[in-house]
């Protein structure tokens, strides 16, 4: 039974299926979801695959319930995930906030389509980048990964589970419709080659255990239901023991812990792919399906001897501000192609702080940039 969770071998599958396989390989045994294009195939795959490994798939009445259910399962000690797209992601924001406040590990796959509202259900978008970062009310740290291929859908879903266990919070896989519906070779390595972070349990006397300790650089291990630690888990501002305390003093500790556990560890979380940066005059900043086009642009222009590089964001959050700051000292411009009206471009502009020009190439959704149109734009800044 358990050998069915890691389908070691070569597969020809789409990104949605790869997200599901990544979840299973990471140990996910609970999926709650609601059908939505273009993420439905993740749920469908989970509905078929989870029972094979003894897990539970449940189709909830909406995305609000789906998000709540995966938090509940996580507190039951079971790794859990859901998948959705823009409108569903909006509905999940409420309980994403609960997940952040209660430091609950789980994974949310968001296959981005064109918005706002119902927008372009079947066509690509990348306009949920800022929503992922700021979508639920209040302050918290955010981890979001942006796969650019079905292989990365598999790899990054596993990575998302690992990060969610280490930092004890919901982690987002921010794929897009193109990557999710593209079918490519996906290699699933042998089980022993896959790095899995298990859930740490507290040891020692329950009386000494602080489930929401904010002292260390990392959150406390998590005592789940039935472990005998009698943890109170609340969305209210709470002290280290989990007791609600409605004061500015505890709010200060509580919120700063939620933000700082990510901010102080950002250097460990951030992951980028750097291409031809050494002597670049213009640097493309791209993620998801757009990064595939950007790679082509760099290849084409380098062939012509033009000094163009690429920073592909694998983590879109936390954002690699330091890298951009360093590059800004020596490049002429950053060109940011994205399928929205400027989201990541704001971060680039912020980090560049006027030292290099930031140029957005926004496409509102429904199609990807062509290499030629990006190349024409880049040429203007060389």
């Amino acid at each position: 039974m358990s050998d069915k969770d890691v389908l070691t071998g070569e597969h020809f599958i789409h990104g949605d299926a790869a997200c599901a396989e990544g979840g299973l390989a990471a140990g996910c045994r609970f999926f709650a979801g609601y059908p939505i294009t273009p993420a439905t195939e993740v749920a469908e795959r989970m509905a078929r695959r989870l029972p094979q490994v003894g897990g539970v798939y449940i189709q909830m009445e909406d995305e609000i319930a789906s998000m709540a259910a995966i938090l509940g399962a996580s507190w039951g000690g079971v790794k859990s995930m859901t998948s959705t797209s823009g409108p569903g992601f909006s509905l999940m924001m409420e309980n994403i906030g609960l997940g952040m406040m209660t430091e609950t590990p789980c994974v949310v796959v968001n296959i981005q389509r064109g918005g706002p509202s119902t927008g372009l259900p079947t066509l690509v978008g990348q306009a949920d980048v800022m929503q992922a970062r700021w979508g639920s009310h209040g302050d918290y740290g955010c981890i979001a990964l942006a796969p650019c291929s079905p292989q990365e859908c598999f790899d990054l879903t596993i990575h998302a589970f690992n990060l969610s266990e280490i930092y004890r919070q919901p982690v987002f896989v921010m794929a897009d419709e193109v990557v999710a519906h593209m079918t490519e070779r996906v290699v699933i390595p042998p089980r022993e080659k896959i790095h899995i972070v298990g859930r740490k349990k507290p040891t020692g006397n329950p009386g000494d255990y602080l489930p929401f300790d904010s002292a260390g650089p990392l959150p406390a291990p998590m005592a789940v239901a039935g472990d005998g630690f009698h943890v109170h888990v609340t969305g209210l501002t709470h002290d280290e023991r989990g007791y609600p305390v409605i004061t500015d003093v505890v709010q200060e500790r509580n919120v700063r812990h939620l933000v700082d556990k990510i901010r102080d560890n950002a250097h460990k979380i951030i992951s980028v792919e750097e291409t031809a940066l050494e002597d670049a005059d213009v640097v493309l900043i791209a993620y998801g399906c757009t990064a595939r086009v950007a790679r082509q642009v760099v290849e084409d222009l380098r062939e012509k001897g033009l000094k163009v590089g690429l920073v592909r964001l694998i983590t879109i959050w936390p954002f690699p501000s330091d890298l951009i700051r360093r590059l800004a000292d020596r490049v002429k411009a950053f060109v940011v192609p994205e399928i929205n009206y400027g989201q990541m471009a704001y971060e680039v502009e912020r980090a560049a702080a006027g030292k290099a020009e930031t140029v957005l190439f926004g496409v509102m959704g429904g199609s990807v940039h062509t290499p030629e149109e990006i190349e024409d734009l880049v040429m203007e800044y060389l």
Binding site: R45, A47, A65, L71, G72, W75, H230, H232, V249
Partner: protein
């Protein structure tokens, strides 16, 4: 940017420990209550203490170790019940206790999971979750404390406020009829449905204990006084008088058709056990219909 922040005042565990241990253990039910959480936040005359005590009594009667019990609550005065109990407790978002508990119950079928929340939480903002969990027959024990208004926010009308009743948002009287909760729970598929008032603590304890013996979605409505939000504007008096009102108005009718259990202002209130039936719960169906086939190698429709 440069960040300027206030100095943090660290958590002083020793002082906090001392503080929460003080006086803990003096009350016979303290074994079920988290140290340092009493006094509770509820108003004098509120019915919530009775509901909480009834739950504890039921655990005691069933001899359930607290390590095997868990309570999930939503938001509101009733939502605070979770925080007082010395077990694994989850105080979730408004209306979402049931879906959260669904995840917990499916992950941990070995635990006794109770959802304790108010009428507004479970039937307005959470109404959709409630009917679907009942339909699926998830193994959850739902206890809904109904005080006919939103108490926490100061007495506004809710989905159970009877027609013509006064609240802070229905100052002339409510233009909407309230839900008949047992009827709704029954129609949605709950396998056990009962209603008591806080004037019926023994019957309530009995019903809660009995619901623990049922595998599936059970629903118990507890009519409770909220002298602040509901009693006063409707001239039902203070907590004691509101309780007296429920005593006079309630009529025990076990086995009554839940369709006849509608509540109107100054009209009789049917109480009793209305529904007690059997049908397979979600996990039983899932194990028999889905997992068994999947593990026998059946592929199902390709995805």
């Amino acid at each position: 940017m440069k960040r300027h922040l206030r100095e943090l005042q660290p958590f002083n565990k020793e002082a906090e420990d001392k503080h929460i241990r003080e006086g803990h253990g003096l009350h016979p039910l303290d074994a079920y209550l988290k140290p340092g959480r009493i006094p509770h936040i509820w108003c004098p005359g509120c019915g919530l203490g009775v509901a909480l005590t009834a739950y504890i009594e039921a655990l005691h009667r069933k001899k359930f170790p607290v390590d095997q019990c868990s309570v999930v609550s939503g938001i509101g005065c009733t939502g605070r019940i979770a925080g007082y109990l010395d077990m694994d407790t989850y105080h979730t978002t408004h209306g979402r206790a049931i879906p959260f508990a669904t995840g917990l119950a499916l992950a941990r079928p070995d635990l006794h999971i109770t959802v304790f929340s108010g009428d507004g939480d479970l039937f307005a903002i959470g109404g959709n979750h409630m009917i679907h969990a009942a339909r699926r027959n998830v193994n959850l024990k739902v206890i809904c404390v109904n005080n006919f208004n939103y108490g926490m926010t100061g007495g506004q009308a809710g989905p159970t406020t009877p027609i013509d009743a006064k609240t802070s948002t229905t100052p002339m009287g409510n233009a909407e009829p309230g839900f008949n909760l047992p009827h709704l729970a029954h129609a949605s598929g709950a396998i056990y449905v009962a209603r008591w008032t806080t004037f019926h603590p023994r019957q309530l304890v009995h019903s809660i204990s009995e619901s623990f013996d049922r595998k599936g979605f059970t629903f118990i409505e507890v009519i409770a006084p909220c002298p602040i939000g509901y009693g006063r504007p409707n001239k039902l008096g203070d907590g004691l008088e509101e309780m007296r009102y429920y005593r006079e108005m309630s009529e025990v009718r076990n086995g009554a058709d839940p369709g006849t259990a509608e509540i109107r202002l100054r009209d009789k209130i049917l109480v009793g056990k209305f529904v007690d039936k059997e049908r397979p719960d979600f996990l039983e169906n899932y194990n028999n219909l889905v997992i068994a086939k999947a593990q026998a190698g059946k592929k199902g429709r390709a995805a």
